[in-house]
């Protein structure tokens, strides 16, 4: 539908990129390649350096280490306006004194396009985001979701090689957030854009990304597809950040190829070794990977601490010999009485070993 916006996204390559503010290391030198046409999320708690990293790609901050390539071109020293990127800001940053159409056309006029042509292109871009006919309004006359779309249109209309999103949905209510993130994902796939997307909301990251880069303390904790990060976290931090997780201590008894025999309390489990040596190990158990059964061989003996009815499911806490375990169980489990003795059966799909 939009002939105006059709440039395949470019690859972004970060080579030892880092940022220091005096003695403070905001981003430790890191390498990262973002393939053209993919959506990569930078995910992490506040203060982990993800926004600084995004702003370095945008050219709003200058890297103090390393080099940055966009589409194979070294842009490390170029100012923001000279890089072929555009950005959607957390606060949208729509110019309050300009109409929506002027806002969207702003970048084109800045690049030297005649105002009439720019307005034509801007109309098309507004149509792309479903805001046809809203051009003459002021940003303050639009709802939050609409402002968000104007911000996207304003960034898209420049046909950037890379589109950057800085926590774009954090100002929206929960319901709107869900539909907007689907819209953004659909738009990105339809136009084949390269998108770098910053968020601290893991479900948002899981929903939109081709790849997720989890950051912690100014460096990359782990990068991979959503599924990899969820099912094979390389640390307790990533495991707990990507969703609810129990962490219990265990011990690798022996290694056989890529499998490990792991002692968990009285149980012995056979799990992927993931290169870990024999000895103490942390076992990450997803709450939905535990089935509550009667006390039986092969099950972890447990006592019910409390069970809460949650409508679609039940949330139960158990005391076991390896510590307390949190379980998401079918809603029938809500009838378990505190103190009852049960067994917990683990589904190997949701159990993973990480270094202690």
């Amino acid at each position: 539908m939009s002939h105006a916006i059709a440039k395949p996204g470019a690859e972004v390559r970060l080579q030892g990129i880092g940022k220091r503010y005096g003695a403070v290391q905001a981003v430790k030198p890191l390498d990262l390649t973002i393939e053209g046409g993919t959506l990569v999320t930078l995910l992490g708690p506040s203060g982990c350096g993800k926004t600084t990293l995004l702003r370095m790609i945008a050219g709003l901050e200058q890297a103090t280490d390393g080099r940055l390539f966009i589409g194979g071109r070294d842009v490390t020293l170029l100012p923001a306006g000279a890089r072929n990127v555009s950005m959607v800001f957390q606060s949208y940053a729509l110019f309050p004194h300009m109409s929506v159409l002027d806002n969207v056309a702003y970048g084109l006029v800045s690049s030297g396009m005649r105002k009439r042509d720019a307005h034509g292109r801007a109309e098309t871009a507004l149509e792309t985001v479903g805001l046809k006919g809203f051009g003459s309004r002021l940003p303050s006359e639009m709802s939050g979701g609409q402002q968000q779309r104007v911000a996207v249109a304003r960034a898209l209309v420049l046909e950037p090689e890379v589109l950057l999103f800085d926590e774009p949905l954090s100002n929206l209510d929960a319901r709107l957030r869900r539909s907007m993130r689907e819209e953004i994902r659909a738009l990105q796939q339809r136009l084949g854009l390269t998108v770098v997307y910053v968020t601290h909301d893991q479900s948002e990251a899981l929903a939109v990304s081709d790849r997720i880069v989890v950051m912690r303390n100014a460096e990359i904790a782990q990068a991979g597809t959503p599924e990899e990060l969820y099912s094979q976290p390389n640390s307790v931090f990533v495991a707990t950040f990507m969703g609810e997780a129990n962490r219990v201590p265990g011990r690798i008894e022996s290694i056989d190829g890529d499998r490990a025999r792991v002692a968990l309390g009285g149980l012995v489990l056979d799990l992927p070794a993931r290169g870990l040596p024999a000895g103490p190990v942390d076992i990450v158990i997803r709450p939905e990977a535990v089935r509550v059964s009667a006390a039986e061989p092969g099950a972890l003996p447990a006592r019910v601490a409390r069970a809460t009815y949650m409508g679609s499911h039940a949330e139960c806490h158990f005391e076991t010999e390896v510590g307390s375990v949190f379980v998401v169980a079918p809603r029938g489990a809500a009838r378990l009485r505190p103190g009852a003795e049960v067994g917990l059966v683990l589904d190997p799909e949701g159990v993973v070993l990480v270094a202690p």
């Binding site: 945008a58 050219g59 709003l60 901050e61 200058q62 020293l77 170029l78 100012p79 923001a80 306006g81 000279a82 990127v85 555009s86 950005m87 800001f89 957390q90 606060s91 940053a93 729509l94 110019f95 309050p96 004194h97 702003y106 970048g107 800045s110 690049s111 479903g130 805001l131 809203f134 303050s140 006359e141 639009m142 709802s143 939050g144 979701g145 609409q146 402002q147 304003r154 960034a155 420049l158 100002n171 929206l172």
Partner: protein, 736 residues
């Protein structure tokens, strides 16, 4: 993408060096004189022609620098190579211009050791003119272009240029003059050597003497100044606090009226209060006359000296303290007081154990602000001081008096500068610890507690009489314009206005501005009008650079800028005449020096309103513009400036108004041709011609009230900059 060329900037430098007359022309420059290549008179020739035809070899380095910078200015070659040429060329150019300017003056080599080294020069040069100025500016910008190409300032030429302009102007118009005035301390005097002269000046009894403690004579001016500033600051802070508490924490019906007090110091020419006090308490003042008529009492001259200056300063600066303290009292979170009350504290206990301690840093800040104002004040002491000398007036008399002792003026200026800088440092430290005054805007609901009864009673008992007194002083001051001779001949008259502002019709029908004040009024308005946009522009630029840009040395720049604001006006005045009296920058007696003085004295106004406005403006707005391919300049022009309109207008008007009321620095810089209104008035006061002085003040006050009223009408309470953070509820039919 190729980095853009610096050819325009280079052309400016080239124009200044090759074509335009380098030196200042005595009678101004006619259009023909602009083409200074090939001028027979060396003084009217360009740098190039002076070097070629008149043997002025010292211009060759400047010309060489220009040539060296050219490859860097052209858009060819790698950025690193171009940056190298630009930095080398512009650096050499600036060094060459500065050193030749400083080395060769009106009498050849400007220092003996240069003469000793190179022999008599047999030539001379005057101050720089159009050519030299353009060349200097061009080289500065070439240098910043080079730095940007090197990757400094995130490669942004506009930012780098802005910083360059700011740094250059701080050096030229503050650092250099202040250094010059300080170095005057070391000039030998008479048969005394450098060290002896310095010691003699520095340890002068007239500055440090403490004999007043024991005997009935005057103390040294340092102690006078300190005593005055301390008393004034304490009294004004106390009064200001009472006013602030009444306005923010009571239901007093005239609260709004009290708030108007805060406008007074802005529109009041500096000696109106002094004049008002003389008309009330002076020898022929109302009170003295009444006392004599009713009780036969002779009250004498008690108003002249410490008493009068103190009273006048408290009147003048209480509104300033009030203004600062309104913000402080309003900044205290009511939640704290509510918490205290729920913990069973009485109102009095809440006030004394929560409210007051929270205000302490704010009170200290207000105290220091008034302290510095009192220190720098010139108008009140000159009118009321009598034999009670303070630093600012002593500096003035050292320069204009019969003694003409610049060394003494320099020492006094140094003392004043040190006191001002210490106060400034203390203030920064105090304001820096203000963190617990909660201004987060988060969860700050709750009602401010009413004042305890006793505190309220004290506040009213102090503030209301004072407010009435202020009104009386102002009324008296203005009434003085309408009687023939105050105290002797009470006949109502408009003759003072007529003498000042008479208009006559020439026989030919043309209008003649016959009044004595017209000339100075027009000059003042003209110069203030020229200075206002420069002040606002430079101030907003500085505010933008400081709030929106991050670069190495930003804190240093901010500190240097704040430091220049801390230099008292009198010091600047002395420094300017000493520095700009001789080449290379010979602008004493011109309108330029007055405009420069206005701009740098009032720059804080521009910076402050800029910073305030910009902190309301979401930073991502200009970042958005920059990522949308707008150059930094375009981003400022199309996004920042339109959203800052109210701040711009405010900065313009306030710098205009302040330029019209300033006296401390300007009094040193006026000349017969460029006389300022305030200086005109002060000369009338010194001659005892109060009627005319007051009439003139009245006109100024009306003029400035009009100006301020106009902006309040124009700008009003428009809230352009505020962006709504939360999505606003939309009127019906809006949702897509």
């Amino acid at each position: 993408m190729k980095a853009p060329s610096s050819l325009y900037t280079w052309s400016v430098a080239a124009l200044g060096t090759l074509i335009l007359p380098w030196h200042m022309q005595q009678d101004g420059v006619a259009l023909g004189g602009l083409m200074a290549l090939g001028q027979a008179d060396p003084e009217a020739a360009s740098a190039l022609w002076q070097a070629i035809a008149h043997g002025r070899f010292w211009f060759w380095p400047v010309l060489a620098a220009l040539a060296l910078a050219l490859p860097g200015a052209l858009p060819f070659g790698s950025a690193a190579r171009r940056a190298g040429f630009l930095l080398a060329g512009a650096g050499l150019g600036l060094a060459a211009i500065v050193s030749q300017g400083l080395a060769i003056g009106v009498q050849g080599w400007s220092t003996p050791w240069l003469t000793a080294m190179f022999g008599e020069l047999g030539d001379r040069q005057f101050g720089v003119g159009l050519g030299g100025t353009l060349a200097f500016a061009g080289f500065v910008l070439l240098l910043t272009d080079g730095l940007a190409l090197r990757g400094f300032f995130r490669g942004d030429r506009f930012v780098s240029g802005a910083v360059g302009v700011l740094v250059a102007s701080i050096i030229l118009f503050t650092a250099w003059p202040v250094t010059t005035v300080l170095s005057q301390m070391f000039t030998p005097r008479g048969d005394l050597s450098t060290a002896a002269a310095l010691a003699d000046r520095l340890f002068d009894q007239k500055i440090w003497g403490l004999s007043c403690v024991a005997a009935n004579v005057n103390c040294g001016v340092f102690w006078n100044t300190l005593l005055l500033a301390t008393s004034t600051a304490s009294a004004a802070t106390l009064l200001g606090l009472c006013f602030a508490l009444i306005v923010t924490r009571t239901g007093f019906p005239l609260r709004r009226g009290l708030r108007l007090l805060t406008v007074l110091p802005i529109i009041t020419p500096p000696f109106v209060i002094g004049l008002g006090l003389i008309l009330i308490f002076g020898r022929s003042g109302v009170v003295n006359q009444l006392a004599e008529a009713m009780f036969g009492l002779e009250l004498g001259r008690w108003i002249y000296g410490f008493n009068g200056v103190f009273l006048a300063q408290v009147f003048s600066f209480t509104p300033t303290a009030f203004l600062v303290l309104i913000g402080v009292v309003e900044g205290i979170s009511p939640t704290m007081e509510e918490a205290s009350q729920t913990l069973r504290a009485s109102r009095m206990r809440t006030f004394s154990s929560v409210t007051l301690p929270l205000m302490v840093p704010g009170l200290a800040n207000a105290w220091l602000v008034v302290f510095v104002e009192s220190l720098a004040d010139f108008g009140n002491p000159i009118v009321l001081g009598g034999s009670f000398g303070v630093l600012s007036t002593e500096i003035f008399f050292a320069v204009v008096g019969a003694q003409q002792d610049f060394g003494r003026a320099a020492v006094l200026a140094a003392v004043m500068l040190v006191v001002a800088l210490v106060a400034f440092m203390v203030q920064r430290a105090v304001v820096g610890t203000r963190s617990y005054v909660s201004m987060t805007g988060k969860g700050d609901v709750g009602l401010p507690q009413p004042l305890p009864r006793r505190v309220k009673a004290v506040a009213f008992a102090v503030a209301i009489p004072w407010a009435l007194l202020t009104i009386i002083v102002y009324t008296m001051a203005l009434a003085g314009a309408f009687v023939r001779v105050w105290g002797r001949d009470w006949t109502p008259t408009l003759s003072h206005f007529q003498r000042a502002f008479a208009l006559e019709w020439a026989p030919s029908g043309a209008l003649i501005f016959a009044g004595g004040a017209w000339h100075s009024l027009f000059t003042t308005i003209q110069l203030a009008a020229v200075a206002a946009p420069l002040t606002a522009g430079l101030g907003l630029l500085a505010a933008w650079v400081l709030t929106r840009q991050r670069f190495a040395g930003r804190t240093a720049l901010e500190f240097a800028l704040m430091l220049t604001f801390a230099v008292p006006g009198t010091v600047i005045g002395v420094a300017y005449i000493l520095t700009y009296n001789i080449p290379p920058l010979e602008i004493t007696g011109t309108a330029t020096i007055l405009v420069v003085c206005f701009v740098f004295r009032n720059l804080p106004v521009g910076v402050r309103s800029g910073v305030a406005a910009m902190s309301q403006l979401d930073k991502s707005l200009d970042e958005a513009a920059v990522t949308l391919r707008a150059s930094t300049f375009r981003a400022i022009r199309t996004v920042v400036l339109p959203l800052l309109k109210p701040a711009i207008v405010t900065a313009l008007v306030y710098s205009f108004v302040r330029a019209m009321t300033t006296v401390s620095a300007v009094i040193f810089l006026v000349s017969a041709e460029y006389e300022m209104a305030t200086v005109f008035i002060i000369n009338r006061v010194i001659n005892g011609d109060y009627g005319l002085a007051i009439a003139y003040c009245a006109v100024l006050i009306v003029l400035m009230m009009t100006a301020i009223g106009l902006i309040n009408l124009l700008v009003g309470r428009r809230r352009l900059g505020r962006r709504q953070a939360a999505p606003p509820a939309l009127p019906a039919g809006g949702r897509a």
